[in-house]
Symmetry: C2
Subunit: 271 residues, 2 copies
Amino acid sequence: MEIYLFAKNLIQDAGAFIRERMTENYNIDSKSNRNDLVTDVDRETETFIYNRIGEKFKDHQIIGEEGHGFDIDDMKGVTWVVDPIDGTLNFVHQHENFAISIGIFIDGEPYAGLILDVMKGDLYHARHGEGAYINDTQLTDIKDTELKSSLVSTNSNWLVKDGIKKPFIQIVKDARSVRSYGSAALEIANVAKGTSSAALFYRLHSWDFAGGMIIVSELGGLTTTLLGEEMRILETNSILTGNKKIHSELVQYFKDDDEFIENHARFHGLD
Amino acid sequence: MEIYLFAKNLIQDAGAFIRERMTENYNIDSKSNRNDLVTDVDRETETFIYNRIGEKFKDHQIIGEEGHGFDIDDMKGVTWVVDPIDGTLNFVHQHENFAISIGIFIDGEPYAGLILDVMKGDLYHARHGEGAYINDTQLTDIKDTELKSSLVSTNSNWLVKDGIKKPFIQIVKDARSVRSYGSAALEIANVAKGTSSAALFYRLHSWDFAGGMIIVSELGGLTTTLLGEEMRILETNSILTGNKKIHSELVQYFKDDDEFIENHARFHGLD
């Protein structure tokens, strides 16, 4: 239990660090493209988390969005997968609707997942086999739903991207309604909480989904790639997370589309 | 000032009514299609608001989403335009992220706008010429932004609808990022608050936008149809609301598309 309790304290302290730090000036830079932003606060928060783990557990591995552990190529021992700010665009433009996400694995097996909605103050957390919680309230198992009577989350970029858009478009037409919140971690947390039935994205990094997939799994939900394959923690993936019924329904949209399968294999290096 | 103060008290009381009522059982029905839901709580809240206005101001007109004032065909005197629950799907599935929206007009001229985020407790309100507020904090004028560095809100249905989707798709490609929250009133409130730069929808009723457009206008923002025409309060409209710079940029996407113009005229009866 020691690591789990430590992680819960750490994510709350990191949240407090962000709330304090964001009242001061910070620089905003772009990374892979002009809409992929990173701020001093992202970097400093990752260092804050990195240092705290390193002081306590000298032999733990840490993979972070802002550069820590980029050279890690195995999951031996304890591995922390950390996104210091998931939803950096929301952080910059809205000053809310962003999260800290942490997934912890022991020898590659899920150990614990934590997502903190930093401004709302809600902590989603689960230790494998011990149930999932929002703050001190235990979450109930995820209920099966059908797409036609479900809310689902995605990013509208995938609805307009040639070569992969067709199944996403059909899902929008068949769903009850679609939401886009701009933080994958919080959108996966919504699946855990039951306010959304599924979240699907063409491309996420492990730090975007590691915490959330452990929480969803603890509640009986399923997380795979859009084609139903097992998630790889050390690589980018497509992702489909939701209750088992809608998951099986949604994965078929992608499996039935040869053009999608071809582009997905090329992009994610699965062929 | 009397009507404005009365309206602020009324919307808070209606919010309290919803929060209390939603802890009990309620029926959910569908209206125009299987995804257009209405609940007992929508209807009862509209009646709550209708009765309270009627007791105080016997000669005021009231147009409500759930049937009150459907036969009103002029804007003489004082007209209240009321959505008791904007974002009914969120109400049903999420138990949050929905709003009460009220717009008040005197002889057709904007008098006051109010939007209550019922579960968050934030009240956005403006009296024409007197500034706009979130709770007791005055909002600052909306800043000009460019699409390429802006978050904008829309509904993904418009990205997949033949005949009108092209400009929406291009906007997704050109924007920094797109959000879909499922409550037009709250998405317009975000424009007022500055956490979103624009909100655009192909079809809204007056009760969805009346409160918001008055608040945005008070902060120097602009609200028109997607083709830049003046909003008609007694009809359904397309809507584009945002700061003046992004508004002028966005309206051009729609004006440049002949197929869109033709379908828009047919659908909205503007030809």
